[in-house]
């Protein structure tokens, strides 16, 4: 007994160090591997509140560029509407059949209150949470393209796993074709992501546009990602190409959170297939 007490006396600092180190590493691994970190993140009440205060002050600096982005998006959407109206006239009917009409996605506006792009596992924080209908695994985009996937929502805020995160995998395809691959990031440049596993026979050229594919239940089809900037000529197994993002990930303001209304239905169907 005395031996044990003596042992604790002698090594108490080292044991205390081991205890604290163990706690810190538990936080780390929870955060890195499983995204289960419930309270050490920037979406909780205190840190989320502080970040939203700070961002409400700093957003005045970006009003001009934010307006420009909105105007550009409006123009794009108006052009799309214009195309749509011709199609309606062509088919000689302006009636929306409420039985056939089927809404698949809902959009929510949110603001990025904390951004990060220089690490290997980047997370953003947005100012919408469970109270606004934001849940785990919903798409986050803005007018220029994909930003990330919601990760752990609290009541008023949620963290978003950015596409600049080494764990991120997004289904992506060549625009106007159905050749698809998966989009990841190697952690080096904040505006270059990597598209891998795209079939070798796909007609890939530098400057081709990459958009989201319709294979995931998170992202809607056809959201822009970036352009191909470098093609690997070698015979590697994963056939990696570099994609330069349309989005400047270091400068994000308002974003849309997209909810897929059919997600439960699709997931349950796929679960049926697995059995």
């Amino acid at each position: 007994m005395q031996q044990i007490i003596y042992f604790f006396q002698k090594f108490k600092y080292f044991l205390f160090f081991l205890l604290l180190g163990f706690i810190a590493l538990t936080f780390t691994f929870n955060n890195l591997n499983y995204h289960k970190s419930k309270f050490v993140n920037s979406a909780n009440f205190v840190t989320g509140g502080l970040y939203s205060q700070a961002s409400s002050i700093s957003e005045y600096w970006n009003l001009k560029s934010e307006n420009k982005i909105l105007a550009e998006e409006n123009t794009r959407l108006k052009n799309l509407l214009e195309k749509k109206s011709f199609a309606v006239i062509d088919s000689d009917s302006t009636v929306t059949d409420s039985i056939k009409y089927h809404q698949k996605y809902t959009y929510t506006t949110a603001k990025v209150i904390k951004n990060s792009y220089s690490k290997n596992f980047n997370f953003l924080t947005i100012n919408k949470g469970q109270n606004d209908g934001v849940f785990k695994e919903m798409a986050v985009v803005n007018s220029k393209g994909v930003i990330g996937i919601t990760d752990s929502p609290s009541n008023g805020y949620s963290t978003v796993q950015s596409i600049l995160n080494r764990n991120s995998k997004i289904n992506a395809r060549l625009k106007n074709s159905n050749y698809f691959g998966s989009l990841g990031w190697d952690g080096i440049h904040y505006n270059i992501v990597q598209l891998s596993d795209i079939p070798r026979q796909a007609p890939l050229k530098i400057g081709d546009t990459i958009e989201t594919g319709g294979m995931s239940t998170i992202f809607p089809e056809g959201i822009l990602i970036g352009v191909v900037s470098k093609i690997n000529k070698g015979n590697t197994a994963d056939n990696k190409v570099d994609v330069t993002l349309f989005n400047d990930m270091s400068n994000l303001g308002y974003v849309y959170v997209i909810k897929n209304l059919d997600k439960v239905e699709i997931k349950s169907l796929e679960a049926l297939q697995d059995e």
Binding site: K12, Y13, L20, A24, L25, T28, S42, T47, G187
Partner: protein
């Protein structure tokens, strides 16, 4: 900041400046709290906490190595009264250890080891510059 290579972490100055005491439990605990509070804001799990308690734990070893102090000298130990060369060695060693652990965990694989080393080098230089500027400015003449 600056193309992602330079991220000075000045909060570790706490470890350099905290007075030496015989009972190190409160010191380790405060360092841990400081690290966790930095982690809260940067979504890094417990990486800051882990790297700061490592340098908080090994600090005594380097104090003994560079300044040759014994337990009786602890209450009188003060960085400002030491020679600049010794202080520089002490601060630099601890900063590099901290940054190396921090960036290795942030990277969390051996893939981009060169990026880790570059990050450590550049960020350490900037942390050191900021630390020495800070001590120079706030020292009473």
């Amino acid at each position: 900041m600056f193309l992602g290579y330079i991220n000075p972490y000045l909060y570790i100055a706490f470890v350099f400046l905290y007075p030496l005491k015989e009972n190190r439990i409160p010191f380790l605990f405060y360092s841990f709290l400081l690290g966790v509070s930095v982690d809260f804001f940067s979504d890094s799990g417990g990486i800051h906490a882990f790297s700061i308690i490592v340098i908080a734990y090994v600090r005594l070893f380097f104090v003994r190595l560079y300044f040759r102090k014994v337990v009786a000298d602890y209450p009188f130990f003060n960085l400002k009264s030491e020679a600049f060369g010794k202080v520089f060695n002490y601060v630099t060693t601890l900063t590099i250890i901290h940054h190396l652990i921090y960036f290795s965990f942030i990277n969390f694989s051996f893939q981009n080891i060169s990026v880790v080393l570059l990050n450590t080098l550049y960020s350490s230089i900037f942390t050191l510059i900021l630390f020495f500027l800070g001590t120079y400015i706030f020292t009473k003449k």
